[in-house]
């Protein structure tokens, strides 16, 4: 197991982080170049104030009409996304690995809490899956890639959960956990998961247009 572990926590991790951060930077640069070349007017309407105003409204659960229209979805999606981001970053084991590797430490969550958040993410993924199948308006626009993306997101949490609880084949499960996490990181810039980067920008642009040009609210 030592060589495999060394490989996945060493070079593979490097590759994953380089592709993740590099990919995000690439997408951002690509976007800026494209705006400059084809739609330079976008820059001139971007407003920090109105962009932020819109983002804050949408970041607030039930802060918009549509969030209020879909209370269950709102609760699930906020819980899902918060846990999705917070659990991996503030998991003690992850923080520990970072500290051991680079001496970078940050506060971490108790394992019980992280475990609970993982369950929230998994439950959220199941909810999204069921919603995709059950709701006609969602099913209509769902393709295989949507299921794959959902699986991609859920995988590190499912494998992490199993590994943490040492339910079976611990060593292989941990390797699967690490690899699936890396795959997810790499996938973010290059799939629709890039909404992690773009959604604040599109929201800010719509907020800027509504606030600065249209004098109306967009929530």
């Amino acid at each position: 197991m030592h060589p495999i572990y060394g490989w996945v926590t060493g070079p593979l991790t490097w590759i994953a982080f380089v592709l993740f951060f590099g990919g995000l930077l690439y997408r951002l640069a690509q976007l800026l170049v494209l705006i400059r070349r084809k739609e330079p007017f976008i820059f001139s309407y971007m407003s920090f104030k109105y962009g932020l105003r819109s983002i804050l409204h949408w970041l607030l659960p039930f802060g918009t009409v549509n969030w209020r229209l879909h209370p269950v979805m709102t609760i699930v999606t906020f819980a899902f996304h918060i846990c999705l981001l917070a659990a991996p970053i503030f998991l003690m084991a992850h923080a520990l690995l970072f500290e051991e590797a680079w001496g970078l430490g940050w506060p971490s969550l108790p394992d019980v809490v992280a475990d609970g958040m993982t369950m929230v993410v998994m439950a959220g993924a199941v909810f999204f899956l069921v919603r995709r199948i059950v709701r006609p308006e969602v099913r209509f626009v769902t393709s295989t890639s949507d299921y794959l993306l959902l699986a991609l997101v859920a995988a590190p949490f499912v494998t992490g959960f199993i590994a943490y609880h040492q339910l079976f084949a611990y060593r292989w499960m941990l390797v699967a956990h690490i690899v699936s996490g890396q795959v997810l990181l790499v996938a973010i810039p290059f799939t629709r998961l890039v909404h992690m980067l773009f959604a604040p920008l599109t929201r800010a642009y719509m907020g800027s247009e509504f606030g600065g040009v249209r004098h109306a609210v967009d929530w």
């Binding site: 003690m92 520990l96 051991e100 609880h165 611990y170 060593r171």
Partner: protein
């Protein structure tokens, strides 16, 4: 009726096993983690004599080291002390690794260096 009996038996065995482990002090099987305020993981598996035999460790101070002014003191050893006597649970200003870091540094680092022994979290922190 049958499932009930099975569960009862299992619970009884579990209780018995854990009691015996605790009692067998002369044969250390785990690194006790009761010094931690809120231990997050099960105590690390560590069968003292077996490990040292397998790893070929004769010198106590390979693990029970003594540091003075940040320097390792070659000839002294510290098996009479508890690890937590020197290593505080949380980081301190004196440059001494915190307790958990000390454990990980002592065990995991050595395993990584030697290419042998458990290195994944759950390999040591095995769930009962």
């Amino acid at each position: 009726m049958k499932p009930f009996v099975t569960v009862l038996l299992a619970v009884a065995c579990g209780v018995l096993w854990s009691t015996t482990t605790l009692l067998a002090q002369e044969d250390m099987r785990t690194v006790p983690n009761d010094v931690f305020m809120a231990p997050q993981r099960p105590p690390a598996v560590f069968v003292h004599d077996e490990h040292n035999t397998a790893a070929g460790i004769d010198e106590c101070n390979r693990c029970h080291h003594v540091y003075r002014d940040g320097q390792l003191v070659e000839d002294e050893s510290s098996e009479d002390y508890r690890c937590s006597d020197c290593h505080a649970e949380t980081d301190t200003d004196d440059g001494m690794p915190a307790l958990m870091d000390a454990f990980h540094g002592n065990c995991k680092q050595c395993h990584l260096e030697k290419g042998k022994g458990p290195i994944m979290c759950g390999e040591c922190h095995q769930r009962p």
